[in-house]
């Protein structure tokens, strides 16, 4: 039992160091590369977001698997979490569906600059952006 715990402590230390390194990596990457990409090319935004989220997901995995002991848990907890992930995916796809007009965007939404958002605004806006639909 004591040996087992010592093993755990060693794992916690390694995970701690890995999390710190990944944090530095995320920040450094966003400073040196992604800000430039962000400002120069609209289509590259999604790549930089994907990389940022990928690192965050790996960090979350390290925390969940080791600190929360999900790498060695009972089936009922995995089942509960599988249901949660399923619901979460639906939740995240709702705005994406909306964006691609799978759901209809609402018209006449007031904007911060005093304009009103409607479908006319979008087509007008797209002409300037070169259109990305």
């Amino acid at each position: 039992m004591s040996n087992d715990i010592q093993h755990h402590i060693n794992v916690y230390k390694k995970v701690f160091i890995a999390l710190l390194i990944l944090t530095v990596l995320t920040v450094a990457a966003s400073y040196f590369e992604f800000i430039i990409i962000y400002k120069t090319s609209g289509s590259m935004i999604f790549l930089s977001i994907a990389i940022g989220i990928a690192i965050a997901t790996f960090k979350a995995y390290l925390v969940a698997a080791n600190f929360m002991h999900l790498n060695d848990e009972k089936p009922i907890i995995y089942q509960t979490l599988a249901g949660t992930v399923f619901a979460l995916i639906i939740l995240f796809f709702m705005p994406l569906m909306w964006h691609n007009d799978g759901l209809k965007s609402p018209d006449n939404v007031p904007l911060q600059n005093g304009n009103v958002y409607n479908s006319d605004f979008e087509s007008h806006h797209d002409e300037h952006e070169g259109g990305h639909h």
Partner: protein, 197 residues
């Protein structure tokens, strides 16, 4: 009357009851934060003015420091549980104290971030990004305060249980730890989503 399955394993789930309880609670928490993240994605994709909201004016160094503080607190939290497993109450107090200290440091840094925004006249009502930023980090901050209340209790008066029911107390710390790691986990996503991307 003794409440069943506080320490002993329930045969059908293979867990003591509180463990399943906290995971069900955390599942609901995933959906709570998930809803707000989903709103963030929607606003960001559909708001044509998003680029003008000054997202890159957020204080990245302070937020990075807060990330390190929270990761550290997660490690000290799990170490406080390990210390109880090793029947070392002194070390438990040390690690739990460190966890509480980190929690307060996180809130103090957050306080400086918020007041700097307010001083520049930036409020949740200013624009969509700030509305998202204050709502999600505010909710996360409330979770930190909730964690301080629970961990503070187990650091202070709640520690008495160690003398009468040490195994049950150890389980309580494991449950409090699961909650605390979740709060850390939410921040791991919040940090790049709000500050960096």
């Amino acid at each position: 009357m003794k409440i069943p399955y506080n320490e002993e394993i329930r045969p059908d789930t293979g867990l003591y009851n509180a463990k399943l309880g906290i995971w069900l609670f955390l599942a609901s928490e995933v959906m709570l934060f998930g809803g707000l993240f989903s709103a963030y994605i929607l606003l960001r994709l559909t708001d044509p003015n998003w680029m003008n909201y000054g997202q890159d004016a957020l204080n990245v160094p302070l937020a990075t420091l807060n990330t390190v503080v929270l990761i550290t607190s997660s490690v000290t939290m799990v170490m406080s549980w390990v210390s109880l497993k090793l029947k070392d109450l002194k070390k438990y107090k040390m690690y739990m104290g460190a966890t509480l200290l980190c929690s307060f440091i996180f809130l103090i840094i957050k306080y400086f971030e918020y007041t700097a925004k307010f001083d520049h006249g930036l409020y949740p009502s200013t624009n969509n990004f700030l509305a998202v930023y204050f709502t999600i980090t505010g909710l996360h901050g409330l979770h930190i305060i909730g964690g301080i209340a629970v961990n503070g209790y187990f650091y202070g008066p709640g520690i008495k249980m160690w003398d009468s029911e040490p195994e049950r107390f150890t389980n309580r710390i494991e449950i409090a730890g699961l909650y605390w790691h979740f709060v850390d986990l939410v921040w791991i996503f919040l940090f790049p989503a709000l500050y960096l991307l």
